[in-house]
Subunit: 352 residues, 2 copies
């Protein structure tokens, strides 16, 4: 049995009785029932995933995977392709937005080179797990072979296992890759059936002409590659990217270890959708951090059955939204473990 | 000149050139322009209020004011009135939701007794600034005299001055008072002209019958008291509460000291509206933390010209939403001071 198969078989739907137990504990706290709204929902969800009605504050990490995309040759991005590699170095030296926001959340950042065109200068902060020097151009041919997609999934599974084995109990995921919104739009169209124009946005900031080009490229990618309708690996290989497949692996590995995964924006949403196509119960291990400006994100979140916690008009990626939402997850769990009860505080309870 | 008059004359609209300077600094950071969305907006707004393009991380406090309301006699709340006093003790001993969330945000909690029916047992954590043993029943007569409303405003101004004088540079405000959503609905209807049913909600959780009673009580309050249409002090005195007037004073005092104020839900929104009726430029010192479940909150935020950062279905009060949003304010300011620039990180900038 392959690593992937083994992991997919391990993933289980969490026990709803644990969430109910957590809600009962929250109902005893000195506040009107359910008055902390979605914060209470988050506490219950984390409890169910972790398998404990009162999970301790999590040890947190954000896995940021970067790779290059052959489709960048079609002029679908506002930035030159070398930016992927440059940003890997920026992540390693701690100067990117994700470094700042992860520090703020008390999360460590795990930076993974899944395959930029040129390898970045080796730095202690970068895990080198290169599948190749960027994918091929999905507008002309399959972006990856099936073997490459499987290798990328395995990398993600392995990283999730190592981190959870080392004590991490809350994972965020983030992406970096010039061209990767184009790849994600193609995957989203393929998996949700939504019209290409509705899942294609402006990425890092292309204008109207660039947007029209992106839509045409995504259409061409779907025609050229004809992804198989019920074989998720087929679409993932043909239309995906090394980092997207790797992040799907992180989701699967974490779900198998009962560790919740906080998604970021559109690209990580598509990676999660890949994971859920492979193992539907993995959806129960997910939390949506924010609703991105990318129009396809809404459609992907609906397909995942998730409601985001934040709506801050972010469109950066890197895991920035995930890091911001981790602060809310901590807040929810602190409410659960630190608040007084009606009994302990001598406050009259109306039961309302 | 009274304290209130002096403060109202001091409040100035922030200089938009400072916000523009901050945005220019953010545009040099290693990310697509404006890709951190509303987080960038928050950084610019705080900078303008503070009068510095790169304000340091704020020293934070949440002022929670509590008082009783004579209108509770009309059966408008799901909780007995003694809960106001019990919760004051809970705030003082650190067990309430606001204590947990303020700790999480790194903010201190300043608890003020503005006038519960019975004074709470004296505790080092409670500032006693009692205007009286609760307001009178606004459904039958004015809740406060004009002198009481002015005294409550002065208390708030004084507390804001002391805190900002002691180094606090970001204030949150929160409320506690059984019956205070009824008072807030009456004020919101009076100041916005919105229909009573649209600004009246379920508070801590009354059922359909209780809601009908609340609507009738608010209507009666408006008929009995006939608040003066352009004298904000008149409505505040007749329909308000000691804590609502006190929090309006906190907003005015903070705005005069160029310290931003993070609002919480419906009651603090109404308090801010009182402040803005007295000094329109105070609106520029405000940040809306979240959109509450209370239907009147949306209408009040529109009247204030504010968009909330969070939409978590909170309906607790106490400043809980304000404390949660303080984490986002810190994140925004850390982005501004800690992120690398395209130049410093050697990343290619497309200008997109």
């Amino acid at each position: 049995m392959s690593v992937l198969e083994e992991v997919v078989r391990t993933i289980r739907t969490p026990d709803p009785a644990i969430a109910a137990h957590t809600q009962a504990l929250l109902n005893g706290k000195t506040k009107p029932r359910a008055s902390l709204g979605r914060l209470e929902e988050v506490a219950c969800r984390i409890a169910a995933i972790r398998g404990s009605p009162t999970p301790p504050l999590p040890e947190k990490a954000v896995v940021v995977m970067a790779a290059d995309h052959g489709v960048a040759a079609e002029g679908v991005s506002a930035y030159p392709q070398e930016v992927t590699r440059q940003m890997l170095s920026n992540f390693a030296s701690g100067g990117a937005a994700i470094n700042v926001l992860a520090r703020h959340a008390g999360a460590r950042v795990v930076v993974v080179d899944m395959g930029t065109i040129e390898p970045p200068p080796s730095a202690p902060g970068i895990l080198s797990r290169r599948i190749g020097p960027g994918t091929r151009n999905l507008a002309r041919e399959p972006a990856m072979s099936r073997a490459e997609a499987l290798a990328a999934l395995d990398v993600g599974i392995e990283i999730a296992r190592e981190l959870t084995g080392g004590g991490v109990t809350l994972l965020g995921i983030g992406d970096m890759g010039i061209g990767n919104t184009t790849s994600s739009s193609a995957l989203a169209a393929s998996w949700t059936g939504a019209p290409v124009e509705e899942v294609t946005g402006r990425g890092t900031g292309v204008g109207d002409e660039g947007w029209g080009r992106k839509v045409a490229v995504v259409r061409r990618a779907l025609e050229v590659n004809r992804p198989h309708p019920w074989d998720p690996l087929d679409a993932l290989a043909k239309l995906g990217g090394f980092e997207i497949a790797g992040l799907a692996g992180v989701v699967l590995g974490a779900a198998a270890c009962r560790v919740p995964v906080v998604l970021d924006g559109f690209i990580t949403g598509v990676a999660a959708l890949a994971a859920v196509r492979l193992a539907p119960a993995a959806a129960d291990a997910l939390l949506a951090s924010h609703r991105s400006v990318e129009p396809g994100h809404r459609i992907v979140l609906e397909a995942l059955g998730l409601r985001p916690l934040l709506d801050l008009e972010l469109r950066l990626g890197e895991g920035t939204g995930a890091a911001l939402a981790m602060g809310l997850v901590d807040a929810a769990l602190r409410i659960l473990c630190e608040m007084a009860t009606f009994d302990s505080a001598g406050v009259s309870d109306s039961g309302a």
